[in-house]
Amino acid sequence: MDLENKLNPEAAEEAAPLREKSGRPAHPQLPEGYIPPSAVPDVHEAHDVGEGMSKKEAMKIRMQSMNKQEIAYLRRKQIFEKCWPVFRFLILFGLGFVILTPLMFMISYGFRENTDMNDPTIIWIPRHLTLRIMKQTINAMGLTQTKNNPLINTLVLNIGCSLCQVVTCALTGYGFARFRFKGRNLLFGIVILMILVPTQIISIPLYSTFRNFLFGHVNLIDNKLVMYLPALTANGIRAGLMIFIFRQFFRGLPKELEDAAYLDGCGPLMTFLRVMVPNAGSSFLTVFLFSIVWYWNDYYVASSFFTNTKTISLVLKNLDGTLNIAIFNNANANVSAREKIVWLEAGCLISITPMLILYALLQKHFTEGIERSGIVG
């Protein structure tokens, strides 16, 4: 008997007489999940051929029954399958090297003495390993301050804004995905416009809006509210994209989920919280992670609306100037432009380390989340 029947003896016994009678299995009377034997490849025969032979011999025998075209196709496929991994490795290795160069560069430069820069024999491996440059850069970036510490500022802003933004964008995305109302397409057009319009275009009017908030009674410039308020109203950094992602995601969830909740007397908000949110966990995490990255890397918005509040990317952007004042202004310093790179690279390394750690820990959610969150479809 076939493999099937061994796995499911009862079904086989039931099916056997039927098959004998009509020549083919009578489907309607068969138990569910039963696959007619004709649909299963004949494993038996293949075993007979392969018994006691090497794969090569088996292949030879099989090839005897093929015509020329088929053999040529198989040959080509074989050659391709042999060569391709080598090429693939070369391509990926080369490009991976291009991507990793800056990182290796930062690590190599951040831990060397600045005098190593003048030695042409040193490219990757520093001769004088030191933590001095790192410490100086950390001091210059103000990461040791207790007040207005850029790292703490950025972390608080990042997590706060990202949380607000994820929640509001999810609500908006859900509204667009599941409800029909007048002007929905027009409003969604505005979401698309939010994705398209670069921030540079609206930054100046936005500045005066914040400067004269509440009809000129409140000055919000340099207040952290300039980040929180837009994030709270689903208009933070790249909010349009986030709304878009959430809309696509919620559209992909089965409608029956909500209908069941509605029938049980759940209101729409409760349905959203109790039924949709638990299902969207991975999507939430992905968007949240991306939001953190975007807020972390943003310096345009921060530099437009902050004057004294420092964030990591702002500090990094101004690192050159800060270093000039803090270290190079000294008469003894005598540092060439080429040597300055050491400090700048150290600054880069410091500012991306938290993101790298986050990425290393949650890499799966960054990459697989987007695939599942339904940006496609």
Binding site: E70, R88, I91, L92, G94, L95, G96, F97, V98, I99, L100, P102, T168, L171, G175, F176, F179, R180, F181, R184, I190, M194, I195, L196, V197, P198, Q200, I201, I202, S203, I204, P205, L206, S208, T209, R211, N212, L232, T233, N235, P268, L269, V293, N297, D298, Y300, S313, L316, K317, R338, E345, G347, C348, Y359, F366, T367, I370, E371, I375, V376
Partner: protein, 306 residues
Amino acid sequence: MKIPYERRKALYGYGFISIWMIGTLLWFLIPLLESLCYCFMDNAQLKPDVGGMHKVWLWSVGQNWLANFKYAFAADPQYKQNLITVLKDTAITTPMILIFSLFIAVILNQEFKGRGFARAIFFLPVIIATGPVYNIISGDIASTGADSGAQFSTLFETDIVDQLLEFLGVMNISAQLSDIINSVVTNIFGLVWSSGIQILIFLAALQNIPVSAKEAASMEGATAWEYFWKITLPYVSPMILANFIYTVIDSFTKTDNLVMARVLDKQLDWDYAYAAAMAWSYFAIVMVVVGIVVMIINKFIFYEVE
């Protein structure tokens, strides 16, 4: 009072997006309109000062309302040149990024040892490339001569390409073509670093190709080449469009975008009216081009459903 179910659902919809509507009105639509108004103003009307801008609306437009645009396109020594350079660059790099990222996505979608690691590396730019870090590293690396792009490009000796083209006797296009190839190869660093998200999106699309299509193709004996053109490409075609738009938009905010750099320069000079005019005309031109391209691509897109 009983509201019909349909109406009630519509109201709920408005309820869900109401927070966003308020925010968009305040932080997006009004500033957008204002900046549009700036284009048609004389800078003196704006009275920029520390206290922010004097609010202006379209009714305060003067006689000479096109002055900023006239200046930008006729008198400004840099704007038109920058614009042409940037548009040309975008026209070259966008297809390159699309082709490159599709290629990498196809490779990363295959089964091989260390795939997870390779993916982790290729998505790394997504995390770093948007920030000021990219600026510093791309500048520093070029200035120290440890340019990985240059090192990598020796793999594809561009002179050979030149000679091959000349040998083939296509002299007229060879100069331009080899220019393009040259710029791409020497710019491989920028290419790799700016296609992180695109790879991610293509990869997601590739994983949505149904297994049945794959099986059918392999049963029919499709070669990898045929498989790519007949199965892969149609299935990812909607995402080509999305990636195209994303790439173009992304080029706006790139720091090496000359037009935007000039706009920011002018903003620093308090010349807001002119800066707004430049930004808007650039934006409008790009949008028109994107619109045309989208219409063309749309004809070749294969949608599985609907």
